[in-house]
Symmetry: C2
Subunit: 526 residues, 2 copies
Amino acid sequence: MAVHPVLIDGHWIPGQGTSTFQSVNPATEEKLPGEFPISPWSEISHALDAASAVSKETRNWPGSRFADFLESYAEEIEERAESLIEAAHAETALPRSPRLKDAELPRTIGQLRQAATAARTESWRSPIIDKANGLRSVLAPIGPVVVFGPNNFPFAFNGISGGDFAAAIAAGNPVIAKGHSSHPETTRIFADAALTAVRESGMPKALVQLIYRTSHEDGYRLVSDHRVGAVGYTGARETGLKLKAAADAAGKPIYLELSSINPVFVLAGALRERATAIADEFTGSCLMGAGQFCTNPGVVVVPAGSEGESFLAAVAERFSKAAIGTMLGEGVRKSFAAGVDTLLKAGAVLVTGGKPGGGKGVCFQNTLLRVSGSDFLKNPPIFQTEAFGNGSLFVMADSTEQMEQIAESLEGNLTGALYTDTAGSDDNAYTRIASALRTRVGRLINDKMPTGVAVSAAMNHGGPFPATGHPGFTAVGIPTSIPRFAMLQSYDNVRPSRLPAILQDKNPTGEVWRKIDGQWTQGDVA
Amino acid sequence: MAVHPVLIDGHWIPGQGTSTFQSVNPATEEKLPGEFPISPWSEISHALDAASAVSKETRNWPGSRFADFLESYAEEIEERAESLIEAAHAETALPRSPRLKDAELPRTIGQLRQAATAARTESWRSPIIDKANGLRSVLAPIGPVVVFGPNNFPFAFNGISGGDFAAAIAAGNPVIAKGHSSHPETTRIFADAALTAVRESGMPKALVQLIYRTSHEDGYRLVSDHRVGAVGYTGARETGLKLKAAADAAGKPIYLELSSINPVFVLAGALRERATAIADEFTGSCLMGAGQFCTNPGVVVVPAGSEGESFLAAVAERFSKAAIGTMLGEGVRKSFAAGVDTLLKAGAVLVTGGKPGGGKGVCFQNTLLRVSGSDFLKNPPIFQTEAFGNGSLFVMADSTEQMEQIAESLEGNLTGALYTDTAGSDDNAYTRIASALRTRVGRLINDKMPTGVAVSAAMNHGGPFPATGHPGFTAVGIPTSIPRFAMLQSYDNVRPSRLPAILQDKNPTGEVWRKIDGQWTQGDVA
C-alpha cells in the first residue's frame, strides 16, 4: 500500500519518515485503506523554511490577495463536496446529512467567504491615526501559523479549512496545518483543493502546507520554533497544555480551545412553565453528534425537589429511548468512560446509561448522572471532570443561594446558559446566578442550549482558562477571531509616502474603518 | 527603626513577616532611613482575598466610577508632588528637574487622566452588536491585576501609578501593586494618595493595595494564584521569564516588557547631510537618564568607511566630554558592566569609556563599542546582549545588503529607527532595511531617536518576544493598552433588559463607539 505524500512548499512530496498510520471507520471499527506518514523533524523544518519565505514575500501585500485565495478555495471545496462528505463520513461516522452536507460543510465554506470579505476590507486591522503625535498604528501579519485541528469537526475546525485556518490566512499569514489523525483522508482532499486555489489565485506555493502527524516531541519543537509566528490548537486539554508550555517558553502566542462543561441552569419558574420543551431541547443538544461538541451541555443545575426530579425523569426517559450515536473513535469512548467513572467514584449516582455499546460501532449508552448541590460543593473540581460525549451530570440544588455558589465554584467555560420563566418569577435568581456565571464563561446564554455557535462578529467561542489559554480572544467569529494572528505595528514620524496604504491620509478603499483622532470613520484624514 | 506597614484591604497594617529591606541613595551609596517589609504569603493571600471581593462587588459598575477614582487620584498626586519628587530623587538619583518634576510626574498624572476619560466613555470596550444573530459582545474586567513596576521610572511605570496600573483600573479591576525595591518610599507616598482617592471617590477600600517585596517563590505563587485575573510586569528579562512561566502554567495572562536594544540605522545619505545633528541627537538619547530607558538606543548600524568612522568619532568625542550620570543602583551598574564585558569578549572593540566610576555615586563611564557587520552576523545573539545603561554598540556595515541581513537577524525589539537623507538617495536602502526591521519591532521610527514614548492611542510600546511576551499588545497608550486587562463577554439571546447598559439598544451616553452590524457608530440600535 502506497503511503500518501505530504504537502510541503507547494508540492506533494513523499514523506521522509518511516512510520505511518491509518484511520479507523468508527462505524465498522475497521481500518480505512489509506496509509499516511508521520513526519520527521527534517520534513517539518522544510515546511517552516517554506512558510518563512512566504511570510517575507507577502508581508506587505494587500488583504485582497488573501481574499482572492480564500474565495477560490471556497469554490474548490464546493467542487469536492461529495468526496469530502464521503471521506468524513467514513472517518468520523458523522451522518452525511444533515450534519456533514447541510450543516458543517456550508458553515465551513461560509466562514472562508466571511474571512475573505474581512481580508479584503481590512477593517479588522484597526488602523489608528494620531495626527498630533505623528503616530499611526495597525495590526499586521504575525508570521507562519501552525494550526492543529480537533477530531470532532472534520470540516469547520479542520486545521486546513476551519476557523483558525480562515483567521490566520485572512490576517495575511501562511499556514502549516497539522491534520487530526482520525480523519487524514478528509484533510488530504482539503489540501488538494487548497493547492489548486493557491495556484489559481497566484499566491506563493507554500501558503498552505500539510503534515498529518508528528511525534509529541516534534510537536513541541514545532510550536516553539523561531520561524513560527503563532499557533492555534483545538483539542484535548492534556495535549494542549503541553503544547502551550512549549510555545509559552519560546514567547510564541498560542491560542487554545481545550475543554468545557458548559453549565446549564434551569430555574424553577422555567420548569413550571415549559419543562417538556426544555427536556426535548436539552436531549437534542446533549445527544446530537453523540455529544461530541465543544459546547455540549455537560452539567445541568436544577432545583432539588419534585420539579427538578420530574424534569430529570423526563430527560432520563428521552435518553433511554434515543438512538445511541457512533462516537468518533475508540479514544473518545475510553475518555468518556473514564470521565463517567471519575464522576461515579466521586459520588455521583447513575440515572441511566453508563455502559459502552448499545449502538453501531464505537459507542456508549446515553448517560445521565446526578449529584446533590451540597455534594457538588464539597469537591467542585472533581464534579467538573469533562466527560466528552453523550452524557451529562445533573446537580440538584437546594436553593438559589446554592446555585449561585455552584456558579461561583466553576472553572472557566466556553458557555453558560440560564433558562427562566417568561413571567418574571425567576428574575431575582437570574440576577444572582448570572452575575456569578458571567465572569466564568465566554458566552452567556438565555433560554437556549449552548450547542450551535454562530459565525458572528459578536460571538465569543472562548472563555477563561482552562476553556482556553486567554479570556480575551474568540476562536469563532469574523472578523473578531482574526487579530489573534496579528502583531501591532506602530509608525512614528514615518514619512507619508512610506506608510502602508491603510495608514496614509487617503482612505485606500473608502471602506476601511479607521480611528482618526479618536473617531471611527471611513473617511480620509482631514 | 519602625518598619513601614503594607496597604492591605484599605488599611495600613503592620507587615506579618520578619524580614525587611532598605533602599539606597545611588548618589551617596548610603542606605536611606525607611525600613520596608518583605511580605510573607499569608499577607499576599490576604490582599488577594480582598481584591477578589472588590472584583465581585464592582464587576458590573459603570466605568465612570473608576474614572472618578482616577481623577481624584491624579489630584492627590499633584498635592504630593513635592514629596514624591524628593523621595524619588533620593531613591533613584534621577534629577529633580527637568526629569522628575517637569517630565515624568506630569506624564504620570496625564496618563491617569487619559485613563479616566477612557474609563468614562467606555469606547475601549469595543461593544459589538449583531442583530440578526441575537448576539452582543463587549470587553469586561478580567479580575484582580498584579502590577510589578520597574526600577527606571519611579512615577510613570510604578506599579501603583504607571501605565499598567492606569490601564488595569480603567478596565475596572482592583490592583495589587508590587513596588520596586529600589524606590519604596516613593511608592509609599503614591499609596497614601491612592488610599485617599479611594475614599474620596467612594470606591471599595481594597481597590488599590500595596506590597513592597516578596520572596521569589511567593512571587511565582502570586502570579499563578486562582484569584488573579492578569499580571503586568516591567523589568529585567530573567525575572520576567520566571514569572511568565508561573503565570502561563496557570493560564493567567501576563504582559511583560522585558528588554530591547532598539536598533538605529543611520544611512549614508543622512550622514552626508546632517552627521553633526544626528551625533548630538544620538548622544542626548543614549546618555539621558544614564541610558536607563527601555527604548535606549543600544545598537547603531552605520556604513563602514570614512563617513561611518567620522560619525563614530564625533559621537565618541561627545561621549567622553558628556557628564557621567548616576545610575539607579549597584545592580544596574553590575548588569551594565556584565553586558559590556560580554560584548567585548565576543569581539567588540572599545571606543570610549568601559570602566566604572567617573561620576557621582553609582556610575559607569559613557561607553561606546564597535564591531564590523560581518562579525555581528557571525553571532547575532551575542551581539544583541542588552547592556542597559549609558552605552551603545556601533555596527559598521559593509553594504545595504549587510544592513538588511543585520535587520533580519534581530530579535524582537520595542523600537527600530532609520535615519535617511531628505533628498532621496537613501530611499532604496530604506525600503529594504525597513521591510526587514518592520516585523521585528513594535514601533518603526523615521529620523528620530527611540527615547520619548508618547501616551497615544497609536503608540506601540511593545513588540515581538523577547521585548514582550506577545506582539499584539502595547504597554503604553490610552485606550489601546486597556483591553489587556479585560475578558471578552458575549451575550447570546439574552433578554434586552438584562443586557449591560453598553449593549442595550440605546447608546447609554450617546458617546460610546459601538460596532452595530459591522458599522462603527455612536448612535442607537435602529
